[in-house]
Every structure is written in C-alpha cells, then in structure tokens.
C-alpha cells in the first residue's frame, strides 16, 4: 500500500514507468504506401500513438479563391478520432486541433518546393487513431514520409519529437502519464541538418533546462530521421527481384 507521505515517482531505479531510460524514445513503427487512393500515405506508431497520414496532390484548388498564382498551397488537417482517447472525443475540429493543424503545416511547409506547382494544392490529412501524448509529433513524422511517398519535391524530410520534464528530470518523448502529470512538454520538429521548424513549450522550464530539453529532443529527431529514411529506402530495395534476374544482366542495364 502506498503510504500517505510516500511520494509517487516517475522513476524506478533510474528507469521510467515504462522501463525506458530518460533519453530513450518509445518504439517506432512506420509503414509507407498503405492507402491505395491517396497519392502518398504513411501509417505510424510511436509507442501507443497510432496515426495515419494521407497526402493528395498536387491537385486543383477548391475553393478557387484560395489558389495562389505562383506557388502551391499546402493544407494540413489534424484530426483525432472520437475513439482515440479514453473519454470519447467529440468529433470534428476544435480549438486544439485547429492549432495543431496550423503549427504542423508550418513545420512542413519550409521544406516543400511549392513553386514547382503554381495554382495547385497539396492536401495533407492526419488522422489520430490512438493517442498517448505526442500525437502532433507523430503526425508530422508520418506526414513528412507521406509527402515523400507522394513524390512531392522537398529539400529534406522533417522529423519531430518532444522532450519533457518530470520529477525535475528532462526526459525524451514523454508518454501520456508523464505528459499529464509532468512539469513541461517541448515538442520540436526539424530537418536532418538541425534547422528547427516547430518549437512549442507548455509548462515551466529554466533557461538551462530548456536548452537541455531542446538538445535532447534534437537527438530524438535524429533517431527518428534514420528510421524514416530507412523505411523509405527499404521499401524499394527489399522488394523481391525474381530469380530470373541475374546480377550481371542487371549491371548492364543500370548504365542507362
């Protein structure tokens, strides 16, 4: 039994409640090209977060007045399924998901070469199927992979990850418990070069703690980037080449 004066802790023997080290990400799973109708798609799990991203376009803009003469516009819709959280979420956009949509869009747009497709639109839809803190970062990761899958020209992929503070300690990729009862949450998104495209914070951190959280989140993004890249590369490399294709023959044709 927990005594009245015994403080509940987020750490046990230096490990977190789910057994992770403070600087460890949750397990990640990414699948590319899961939707046949979409031009690009990606299903992603980050721990207990499950999100699906679909990209359509470039395509004609409707309604017409949103069209821009010299570049493509990018629309991003983040939406949580009503069953994604414990207590039923009232369906439809709300203040929070509008904000998440806005910041996520702005996290991705800097790398998309919108000038290649004037007068068109790239639509990104992110559906959260199961939420466990960090759905916006999972959504951005999935959307970035889906954009690549759709063949949209980009300067780089975007990776996103959060750092938080619980029990006075800075941790990477907080899960729901740590997010709800912790002291701070700092989600970021960045390019593999380290250019930050999203930076938010809620809670309180000293400047020193903030710097440490930012550095930690950056290392998380780098790890995620490696996974994103690997999934995309493996998709075409690991495809079975039937046995009749012998090596020497292949090499000749590669010179085309």
């Amino acid at each position: 039994m927990i005594g009245m004066d015994e403080k509940l802790s987020f750490f046990k023997n230096g490990l977190r409640l789910d057994g992770r080290r403070p600087d460890e990400l949750r397990p990640i799973k990414i699948e590319v090209g899961v939707l046949a109708r979409a031009d690009g798609s990606c299903y992603m799990e980050m721990g207990d977060n499950k999100v699906m991203a679909a990209v359509y376009g470039p395509r004609e803009v409707h309604p017409r007045h949103l069209q821009e003469a010299t570049r493509a516009i990018v629309r991003y819709r983040y939406n949580m399924a009503s069953f994604s959280v414990e207590e039923r979420k009232r369906p439809g956009p709300d203040r929070r998901s509008n904000e998440v949509s806005k910041v996520s869009r702005e996290a991705l747009v800097p790398v998309v070469l919108t000038s290649y497709f004037p007068k068109s639109v790239v639509d990104v839809f992110v559906e959260v199927l199961q939420a466990d803190a960090g759905t916006r970062t999972a959504g951005i990761n999935a959307a970035s992979v889906a954009l690549a899958d759709a063949g949209i020209p980009m300067k780089s992929l975007i990776s996103s990850c959060a750092a938080g503070k619980v029990d006075g300690e800075i941790v990477l990729d907080p899960m729901k418990l740590e997010d709800n009862f912790g002291e701070a949450d700092v989600p970021i998104a960045m390019t593999p070069n380290g250019d930050i495209t999203l930076l938010q914070m809620d809670g309180r951190l000293t400047p020193e703690e903030f710097r440490r959280a930012l550095e930690l989140a950056k290392t998380g993004c780098q790890q995620i980037y490696e996974i994103q890249r690997k999934v995309l590369v493996d998709r075409y490399s690991s495809m079975d080449v039937p046995e009749s294709c012998d090596e020497s023959e292949g090499l000749v044709e590669e010179g085309i």
Binding site: A150, K155, L157, V233, Y236, S237, M239, D246, E249, E253
Partner: protein, 225 residues
Amino acid sequence: MDRMDRNVVVPGDRLSDDPKKAGEGTYVMDGKVCSLLYGMASSYKDKVRVIPLAGKYVPSPGDTVIGTVQDIVFSNWIVNINSPYEGLLHISELPRKIEMNEMSKYLRIGSSVMIRVKDVDSTMKVELTLNDRRLGVLTRGRVAEISPTRVPRLIGKGGSMINMLKKELNCNIFVGQNGRIWVDGNDDDMDLALKTILIIEKEAHTTGLTDRIMEFLRTEKEARS
C-alpha cells in the same frame, strides 16, 4: 554494397560535392548536390539526377498525351490530361475548320483524344493542339493509366520495351507522357497487354525488366495456345 540500396534516395540525401553535377530532381545547398525527391539516383551525362518513384504529370510543350474531354466552353474544349492542370483545346487547333455550334459533333464530353501540348505559360495555362496527322480522337481500343513517373520505363531505352511489347503482343500501343496508355488489338491481346503494362508499372524500379517481361509474355502465350 547492395547496388539497389545505393540507388534509392530520399529528399535531402547528399548526392555529390560538385555543384556542376546537379541534374534533374536535385538542388544545390552550400555547394552540395542534394536530392529533391524520393526516387532512384543515377548518373546521366556527367550529371547526377533523381528519377521520382511517384508524382503527378506536369505538362510541358511538345508532350503527346491522352486526354478526356471534360467540358465544352466558348470555342474551347476543356480536356483532362491526368494532371493538376487542365488542358484547353481551341477550336482553331483542329486539323479542319469547324463551326462553333458543331463542336460537340467532333469531340463530345467523355471523348478520349490523343493530343499534343502546344504551349504552357507561367500561369500553367495549358494549350493543346490536334493539328498533326498522328493525333486525333480515339474511337477504338482501350486506355489504361499508370503513374507518369513510370512512363520512361515502359518505353525503355530507345523504345526497346515498347517495341518489344508491340511486336510480341500484336497490338498497337501508344504511351502518353501523362501516364495514359492506349492499346488497340484483338481482345485477348489487349487483356495481356494491360496485364503486362501493370506489371511493368509495379516493377519499374527493378533491373533486367525487359528480359523478364519477355519471359513472362512467352509463358503467357504458351499457356494460351
């Protein structure tokens, strides 16, 4: 090192340190050539280029494409060319002169046409033309659709793939730059042609494809006879 693995690149991958080598599908940042696309990197005429694995068709002048008439407006046909931008075919771009009130006699809504992109301006207004003997309305055969990025593979080096298909399948085949393909022949041949085209689309990134397709066609034809 796996040579296929070396070839698949994602946006942002560094391809070369020599900015002069920047080819299609790449950009230069801080003197480094990086990939703009998710695709296959290769050298081409001492440049590095990236061929995308997916993407939409962007019309450029001189392309021959297959379109469907979507609408008829004042002296223009609006033609869907499987692209983010719709094509405009003006009444004067027909091989013979017709009156405005008989526009739908010649090209109805839903008609498929083999058509050429005459001009594309900076606002992406796409002007089309039918003024060539090889162009015209498609009245027979079938139209299939593949990703426009796989079109070069379907044609093959110097037309090797497409010529082989035409010969082996006894079909007339036309591949539009926009990924639409017109096939004409007898029903069985067309069935096999469409099946083959879809295989080529699916395996466009693999090597030794032409020979494998030849093999596939042989076994299919043996099974048939």
